[in-house]
Symmetry: C2
Subunit: 233 residues, 2 copies
Amino acid sequence: MQNGKMNEITSLERRPEGGPGPIRRTALHDTLVNHLRDMIIEGDLSPGTRLHEGQLGEQLGVSRTPLREAIKYLASEGLVELVPSRGAVVKRFSAKDVKDMLTVLQSLEELAGRLACEAASDAGIAEVRALHDEMVRRYRAGDRMQYYKLNQQIHTAIAQLSGNAALADIHGVLQTRLKRIRFVGHEGPEKWAAAVAEHEEMIAALEARDEVKLSEVLGRHLINAWERVRDSV
Amino acid sequence: MQNGKMNEITSLERRPEGGPGPIRRTALHDTLVNHLRDMIIEGDLSPGTRLHEGQLGEQLGVSRTPLREAIKYLASEGLVELVPSRGAVVKRFSAKDVKDMLTVLQSLEELAGRLACEAASDAGIAEVRALHDEMVRRYRAGDRMQYYKLNQQIHTAIAQLSGNAALADIHGVLQTRLKRIRFVGHEGPEKWAAAVAEHEEMIAALEARDEVKLSEVLGRHLINAWERVRDSV
DNA sequence: CAGCAAAATGCTGCATACAAAATACAAAAG
DNA sequence: CTTTTGTATTTTGTATGCAGCATTTTGCTG
């Protein structure tokens, strides 16, 4: 989502009952939450920015009521901060905050790695491998954006392979909080190459169901992640 | 909060500008969130219960708008589930969910223990010790409720001693989700005694700043916690 | 011209009002 | 007697309106 004149009402239509299946698709609340989340992650709403209900609602073509509900949701998620009588502002993370989050994320991924080696299905592992291969292709093509997205997807997928829903959930929250940071953190070629190499190790360990190795690599990967983004923060 | 005729509007008054300090105290949103959370934890709203906006709002003396905002907040926190076009229901956790949450909590507390041994101030440790002593007194007095609350406070305090805000935050969320379970889980005298003994070990390790030991005890404590509540789930 | 007081503006917070969807019920058809 | 369909009621979802607080601007005084 580029800034300047941002997308209009059309971008927020209630999902018009996609393909097959009678299942109710996304409600406005969800749509709004996702939309705002993206705006924050992609920098349309930078840290410290006040979420002006009237203005924002008008831009998105929604009244203040559902917008406020979405904002409260995001506040609980930790992306925005509620200031009594003064609305909500996009939360600003200090360098220490980021380091702390990465520390927790590291611990969670180490756990996820151990569990995944036991619990994951072969099919599940194959899917991660597919994501990885695609990511490497994007890396070779120099497509940072797609690389970034696949990178996130892989970590999310591993958390899910653990079979531990609570773990996957918390991991997701934390990863979301860090997305904005990682999104802007554009490391140089050599660091990028190192990250890809670590990913290669990860996948190999996962396929070998070597939980010690996988846990170790995931941990190392996140320690290095801090090195990669520390200047950007 | 006992069930039956529950407390009326009076219980939800906006905090009447407590003592000194010009700082704006709790807004209605926070009050509502806390109130609803307590109602869920203490069983006033049992799992599967639909949160009827009209009725609930009337009981609490609040209109639907802020109530809905609070519900959305709790949904993000994982205590209630939003069903499109059908409102919100109190989330029901399966035995596996609880076990999974405890697994993650264990990992987080082990991390918190390690960090706390390095980062905690002597004063902070002393506070935890005070909480512990008080808890033991309540235990000896057979006061389950106060014991339970102090128990929670101690774990929260240790997470905070880590100096890692993200860790303390996530730990808090997870602990809250588990509160309801632990609240109903009334173990027998022998298990209770074992739990107290483990706490004694914890405090000792913390005071000695023995991170290996503390981490180990915290981990063991939570594995045992699962044994203590597994039948209640 | 600087400093401060007071009004005016703008925004949030909460309540109410309206619209759409779901559920419950009843009647009719098989 | 069961099932289905149409209608009424209830409940959620969204919009609007109003009051209170915060901030800013304006006007007065030194």
